[in-house]
Every structure is written in structure tokens, then in C-alpha cells.
Symmetry: C2
Subunit: 229 residues, 2 copies
DNA sequence: TCTTGTTAGATTGTCGACAATCTGCTTGTC
DNA sequence: GACAAGCAGATTGTCGACAATCTAACAAGA
């Protein structure tokens, strides 16, 4: 009999679906930073009672994309330039570590998956679907974390990714120009297939710094607008 | 008029208190790994309804010390040897990064706080209060993260600390012998006051590895006992 | 005019009850 | 005796209502 792997069945609780809905709304920028989440209004819109909604919100608070003030409300986290800097500098460190751990684990399945995700990025780029472009790029990026075989590291990166995705979405949304169609991941993929680990680590840093400049400019804009308070 | 800083007022929601109670119970080992948390029973014991209790549990699930299976229950996370290895290896990386960031930020207040926390450890050691000993040691350790001025890094470390504290508590609980009374932090503190950053980073790694060996032995014991399933 | 007290409305926090789901046992059938 | 169906019992998930708290507008007094 052939060995068959079943994937976990879908979460069947409203709570889990609400979490997914809210997270998506936040990470795509439909819910902007600082915006308040009115429990009654949202629960009515979703045709759900406040109990599972509130539980879902608690999860997202711990996930770091919502913040809660007792008796005042729950809000989408504010994004400051420093937050972005902090997230990115940590991401660099984690990247280096992840590559180091994943390096000896690379196998055929790794390379196949690498190509698959790379193609997904290219496809989203061609389709000019910016949201999906961000998603796929982060998934490509996350491969080394999945292969690093360190659950705590993976979990940490996934948390960080939530924020990065949010930052990128805000950035994309802010500038109306279409996203560059060129593929910036070609070198990264090639290096991960190669034999020079140090080179891969170095490139991960530099590649990140690339988009970083743009993102920072956007963040500084946010800073200024924050003075409107 | 003298400048006066007020600290934020205490959380006044039941939820927050429940979170604190549960976290403490788990981190001190009163609630062991794999143990199920019966909502009705706990809510009755705490004289609280299930709503805030469940919200509190959602937070702790996201914090990584509880795990939830829909319609089955919420349990204290299982601890495997690999979890401990993973947490520690990540901790090393984060430590190096934190020291690097905190290094130029060191000032008189840093040194004062360093001594204060170091004394707290020594006092707990003299009093043979193992729980407090773990707490204070982690707080001493956390100083570099607080001074690193990177909110994402600090948050990440605090999550990691939850687990480390849990692991240590389990370890301490497992062995009945009293904790060594000698002070293993003397060198660490001295190095943080010194001028050689690399040396401090190196020592952080080695110092961690010290307790690590013991902890790992305990973890492997857990592994074996897990076969009782 | 500025400050302080009051009040109404809205929103969050909490509660008790009901619905959905799981687990283990019993029952019946072969 | 083995095995599937079905039935309690317990537990989690969800709901609607009530209590506690905050906010903002307004009134009263210095």
C-alpha cells in the first residue's frame, strides 16, 4: 500500500475563520494602521456574535498586528519608521541564521519547492497582482525557514512576516505607480542552489536592503503625518 | 516643578489577571506539559465566567505556552528535547544581536540596573527560592534586550523567555537536589561593563551552553517517558 | 474664560444559557 | 467474541443580554 499523507482538516470554528478574515483585511491594508475595530459593527457584518470575534481579536493582538486598550478599544497597530527599521534589522539576523541551518538540509524537494515558489512570484508579477506579489515573495523567502528545521525560529519568522507583509502592503498602496516587473529574486534563487553559503547570506542582506530604502521613505512620510494628532 | 513620570495604571480587566495567573501556573510548573485545562472547572475556581477565561487562553495559545485543538480542549504545550535545542540555538543568535545593539547604548543607568538585577539574582540564590532564581536570572539576562532599543527584538525575546522559564522550571522541579549556590553571572556582568564587545558575546554563548547540558539531559528524559503513549 | 461636576450615549467587559461536537459506553447483530 | 450503530455525559463553541467603563457634551461655579 502506498504511503499517503493526509493534510489536517480545515478549522471548523468561526473563530478561526474570523482570524483569517481580519488578518487578511489588515495585511492587505483594507484596515489601516490606527483604525479602531468596533466589535458590534464587525460582528453584525460577519453575522457572528461578539464572543468568537473577541477571541479572534485577542489572537491577533498577541500576533502583534492589533493592539488593545481596556475599555477603549482594539486598534490596528500604528506603524512607525522605527518599527520598520527594527523589523528589518531583526529579519537580517534571522535570515543569516536560517540559511545557516537550512544549508545542509537542502535536497531535491527543496530545490523543487524553490522553483515552484519562484514561479508563483513571477506569475503574480506578470498579472500585476500586487497583494499576491507580496504574498508569494514572502513565501519564497520563507522556504529557508521551513527547511531550517527549527520550530521556534519558524514561528518567530512567521510573526515577523505578518508585519512585513503589512508594511509592504501599506507601501504599495501609498504609491500608485505599478510595481516593477523585473524579477529581483533570480540571483537569490541561484545562490540558494549554489555551493557558497556565505554568498547566499550576504545577498539576502543586500537584497533586503534594496526594498528597504523605499519602504523607509514611506515610513518617514507616516511619521510626519502622525503629527496631525 | 520636577519632572514626574507616571507608570501606566494596572490592567483592570479580569482577562489580564487570568492571563497572569495562568502564565504563572504554567511557567512555575504547577501546570505540567500536556495537561488539559478544563474551562468550567478553572472558571469556577477563579470565580469568573468562561468568556474572559477563554480570551485569556487564546492569548496564551498565541504566546506559545498553550495549544488548542477545536472541540477537544486547550493543553499546556508538550516539551520535547528538540524544542529546547531550538529555543536555545535561537537564543544564542538573538543574544549576540542584542549585545551588539545595546553596546553603544550603555550608560550609567544601564550599569546601575545591571547591578540591581544581579543583586536580585544573588538574593534569590541565597534564599534558595528556585522559582524566583529563574525569574531574576532571566530578568538580568533581559537587560541587554531592553537596552537594544529594538521593540521587535524585545518582543521576540520575551516570547522566547516564556518558554525558557518553563523549561528551567520543569528542570528544577525534576531534580530534587538544591540549586548550586555559586554565582555564575559574575563574569557576564563584568564583561558587560567592560570594553570588549566580542568577548561579551562569546561569553553569552558559552554561559548559556553551561546550563544547556543539564537541561538537555532532562529533555531527553522527557522524550523517553513520552513513549508511554 | 477656565475649570470642575454631571449626565447621556456608545462601547467594551462579563455573565449565564444554549448549541455543536467529541468520547466512551452500551446495545444489538453477525 | 468482534464490530458497527447509537445513545448518554461531558466539554467546547457560540449566542444574546446585562454590567462596567469611557467619551463627549453640557451645565455650574470661581
Amino acid at each position: 500500500m502506498a504511503k499517503l499523507d493526509f493534510s489536517p482538516i480545515a478549522d471548523t470554528t468561526r473563530r478561526a475563520e474570523i482570524v483569517a478574515l481580519l488578518r487578511r483585511a489588515i495585511l492587505t491594508g483594507q484596515l489601516g494602521p490606527g483604525q479602531k475595530l468596533n466589535e458590534l459593527r464587525i460582528s453584525e457584518q460577519m453575522r457572528v456574535s461578539r464572543a468568537p470575534l473577541r477571541e479572534a481579536m485577542r489572537e491577533l493582538v498577541q500576533e502583534g498586528i492589533l493592539t488593545s486598550i481596556p475599555y477603549a478599544g482594539t486598534f490596528v497597530v500604528d506603524v512607525t519608521a522605527k518599527d520598520i527599521i527594527d523589523a528589518y534589522s531583526l529579519n537580517k539576523v534571522l535570515d543569516e541564521f536560517a540559511i545557516e541551518l537550512a544549508w545542509p538540509q537542502r535536497d531535491q524537494r527543496f530545490f523543487d519547492e524553490l522553483d515552484r515558489r519562484h514561479n508563483a512570484v513571477k506569475q503574480a508579477t506578470r498579472a500585476v497582482d500586487t497583494t499576491r506579489q507580496i504574498e508569494t515573495a514572502l513565501q519564497l523567502h520563507g522556504l529557508i525557514y521551513e527547511w531550517a528545521d527549527n520550530s521556534v525560529l519558524l514561528e518567530t519568522w512567521q510573526r515577523l512576516t505578518s508585519r512585513l507583509q503589512m508594511y509592504f502592503a501599506l507601501h504599495q498602496r501609498a504609491r500608485n505607480e505599478p510595481v516593477p516587473a523585473e524579477d529581483v529574486h533570480e540571483t537569490y534563487v541561484a545562490l540558494l542552489k549554489g555551493a557558497d553559503m556565505r554568498a547566499a547570506q550576504r545577498h539576502a542582506r543586500e537584497h533586503i536592503d534594496l526594498d528597504f530604502e523605499e519602504l523607509l521613505a514611506y515610513a518617514r512620510g507616516l511619521e510626519k503625518r502622525a503629527s496631525k494628532n
